[in-house]
């Protein structure tokens, strides 16, 4: 590597209020950055068996060598022990987080210990400040705290402001960390880990520059990548309608989880479609730093106050496919404004939109089947589509006024273990399901993926490609497992650079090698693939260390009962594929 700042790891100890820098060239040389480096730092720093919400848990943020150098390398990896699953916590976020972290002159930041009193950290280049956050603690709205910190800190335009809302403070196991108001470290409960450390926010900014080996070559390759990005039809789709364009596609295919996955097509799909939202609500599109695609879609929601005529408020709501599924079709909400209102509340309080939607879907069915009553719900009545009840419910999940809501705050599996209804508690490996019921590959992906995310190995995509005959393969358990493992291994490389997965078609093996060459890294395709596979194995190893047992993976019965575009899925096929996948992990 030519630039040595990438190898700098900033350690911050909240217990001692101290910080120091360690240079880990060997780590960054071998594993590039991002996921590859973060899994190593997490394994080193987080003691085995640590309480995810105790001071021994650590938070690792890492970026990679392509960040600040090439467009769409705009993601930060967050690694921690997940309070939701009890093993690997891994989440990614764009916004300005990655550009800011690397500009501050680091490749990674490790946050250890816990503060006794609320605190927020400001990292401005070489300076690290521990700021009193007593005044901010108790501010439930992620928007509010962001606005105040924005006014008090330097670095406008080139900083990231990561913060938590009420859900994170109250340790909801699937609370998120928000950056730049509309981007998130959404999954697996990073918000609660922040909350447990009394860490309200982390601000990062800096102005470092980064050299290249061959100047002409750098500019040439940059231009090639940039041109591909602005001309790609796929990326054009993300710019125009955004990820929400998938609602109608999945609905027509019969893969859109609806009403707690009782069905996979939503009769009001049109109402939550990217097309309808763009036509009537889209107010602005924005971008992560260094990304020409600008996939962030903000809807404007204009609402009258009921107590005074001609008194309106306009709210901006960031929408994407996933929250439209989890807070729309999954809850049977056909009222577009209702979905937007719920989505906005979820964002303000700081929940993972996917998890909280799946929890609410389970609650609705549990009430329908009589497992719970208004006694547990504190008089709230849940029925499909009643968004007002859901808006009230998420405040209860945040505040946890009784035992029932305390269980809901632990995740759908914990709630179902207590109250029943495990067959329709839609979690895989303890993580609430994403918005794809497309076939066997999706289910196998949810079970085997290191973070139980659809983005681990893209099973939903494989299902669709096989269906459309874009990929010719024997759709057997072994072949699916092999394909998913291979895909997940390569994605570790992208997650170490760190490139947005939307650009995975641009950053092919040869492009990655050329881009890395300009910064003095010389990898062959085989070498990259091998370290990808090694990183994936390290992640699975961490999970096993923390008690994850593949043989104990539960498959919610509902996922097998409800038909997919590939028909109903046979449990045997899934079990065999899971076995085959973990055999590959052991190799």
């Amino acid at each position: 590597m030519l630039d040595k700042t990438i190898a700098k790891v900033l350690f911050i100890d909240l217990t001692k209020r101290s910080f120091w820098v360690e240079v880990r060239e060997e780590l960054f040389n071998k594993y590039l950055g991002g996921a590859g480096v973060a899994i190593n730092l997490l394994s080193e720093e987080c003691p085995q068996g640590a309480d995810p919400l105790g001071p021994n848990n650590v938070i690792v943020f890492a970026v990679g060598p392509l960040v600040n150098m090439f467009p769409m390398a705009s993601k930060t990896a967050a690694f921690f022990k997940s309070p939701l699953t009890g093993n690997l916590g891994e989440s990614y976020c764009g916004g300005r987080s990655a550009v800011a972290l690397r500009s501050a002159g680091y490749g990674a930041i490790v946050i250890k210990g816990a503060s006794e009193t609320p605190v927020y950290i400001a990292v401005h280049g070489d300076n690290v400040h521990f700021r009193d956050a007593a005044t901010y603690w108790g501010m439930r709205s992620t928007h509010g705290v962001g606005r105040i910190i924005r006014e008090n800190e330097e670095g406008a335009g080139v900083r990231t402001i990561m913060r938590i809302g009420g859900a994170g403070e109250k340790l909801v196991r699937y609370s998120m960390v928000v950056t730049e108001t509309y981007r998130h470290f959404g999954r697996l409960g990073l918000g609660a880990v922040f909350g447990s450390k009394k860490l309200k926010a982390l601000v990062i900014s800096g102005k470092k520059t980064f050299p290249v080996v061959n100047k002409t070559e750098y500019r040439k390759i940059y231009k090639e990548i940039y041109d591909k990005e602005v001309k790609s039809p796929l990326l054009q789709k993300y710019h125009e309608l955004g990820t929400a364009s998938n609602i109608l596609v999945l609905n027509e295919l019969g893969g859109l989880p609806t009403k707690n996955l009782k069905s996979t097509s939503f009769d009001a799909g049109e109402n939550i479609s990217g097309e309808l939202l763009a036509e009537f609500y889209l107010g602005r599109r924005t971008a992560c730093a260094h990304c020409p695609v600008a996939c962030i879609h903000l809807a404007t929601l204009r609402e009258p106050y009921e107590d005074e005529s001609y008194f309106y408020k306009t709210t901006w709501v960031s929408y994407d496919y996933e929250p439209l599924f989890s807070l729309g079709s999954m809850l049977g909400i056909s009222n577009t404004q209702g979905v937007l209102k719920l989505m906005h509340e979820v964002e303000l309080l700081g929940f993972d939109a996917m998890s909280v939607g799946v929890v609410l879907a389970w609650v609705t069915e549990a009430m329908e089947t009589g497992l719970i009553s208004t006694k547990e719900t504190l008089d709230l009545k849940f029925s499909w589509g009643d968004y007002n009840a859901y808006i009230k419910a998420i405040k209860h999940i945040m505040n946890q006024p009784n035992e029932f809501y305390t269980y809901l705050a632990k995740g759908v599996e914990a709630a179902a273990l207590k109250y029943g209804g495990l067959d329709f508690a839609l979690a895989f490996g303890g993580n609430e399901m994403p918005g794809y019921h497309t076939g066997p590959a999706a289910i196998i992906n949810h079970l085997t993926g290191a973070r139980h995310s659809h983005l681990d190995s893209g099973g939903y995509s494989l299902d669709q490609k096989v269906l459309a005959k874009k990929v010719e393969m024997e759709f057997t358990p072994e072949k699916i497992a092999e394909k998913l493992f291979e895909e997940e291994a390569w994605r570790q490389v992208l997650s170490s650079l760190i490139v947005c997965f939307f650009a995975r078609g641009v950053y092919t093996e040869d492009v990655v090698i050329k881009a890395l060459n300009t910064m003095g890294y010389n990898f062959t395709e085989n070498e990259l693939k091998n370290i990808g596979s090694e990183m994936l194995k390290l992640k699975q190893k961490f999970k096993l260390r923390e008690g994850f047992k593949p043989e104990n993976l539960k498959i919610p019965k509902r996922a097998l009962e409800t038909t997919t575009p590939h028909g109903k899925i046979d449990e045997e096929i899934i079990r065999e594929a899971v076995k085959a996948y973990f055999k590959k992990v052991q190799e």
Binding site: A156, T209, F210, R285, A287, H290
Partner: protein, 133 residues
């Protein structure tokens, strides 16, 4: 003819900052430390964005306060920085009413637009353009 950057339509700006990276890249480096164009939100992403770039003023305030004449008047508007004369006092940055004199911390001297238009070449949404004054 003398050229300068013009903000054609700020409402088209998505805040991607690709222009800022393009500006820094005129030195064939990565990062934002040498950029002379700046994009920030107008108080939250939902409010839209602000483009800060040199307007190439006639009789520019930045040059008028330079104690060493390091900022020379450019014929037709704008300035040219003579780095070897600059003592890094920062008067110019303080004097620019739109904040378009940036600071290169690596050399402790101002970073000033050279009106090359590289930023506009890399603006995906036609927010800015190089135009004749």
């Amino acid at each position: 003819m003398v050229k300068r950057l013009s903000v054609v339509d700020v409402d088209r700006c998505v805040g991607c900052q690709v222009c800022m990276f393009a500006c820094s890249r005129r030195f064939s480096i990565g990062g934002l430390g040498k950029t002379t164009i700046h994009i920030k939100s107008a108080g939250g992403f939902e409010k839209g964005f602000v483009v800060v770039v040199c307007r190439a003023c006639i009789n520019p305030p930045c040059a008028k306060v330079c104690p060493t004449d390091a900022l020379e008047f450019r014929e037709g508007g704008g300035v040219v920085l003579k780095r070897e004369k600059c003592i890094g006092c920062g008067n110019c940055a303080d004097a620019c009413p739109v904040g378009a004199i940036f600071w290169d911390e690596e050399i402790n001297k101002p970073a000033v637009c050279v009106y090359c238009g590289l930023c506009a070449d890399f603006c995906p949404y036609d927010v800015i353009a190089l135009e004749e004054i």
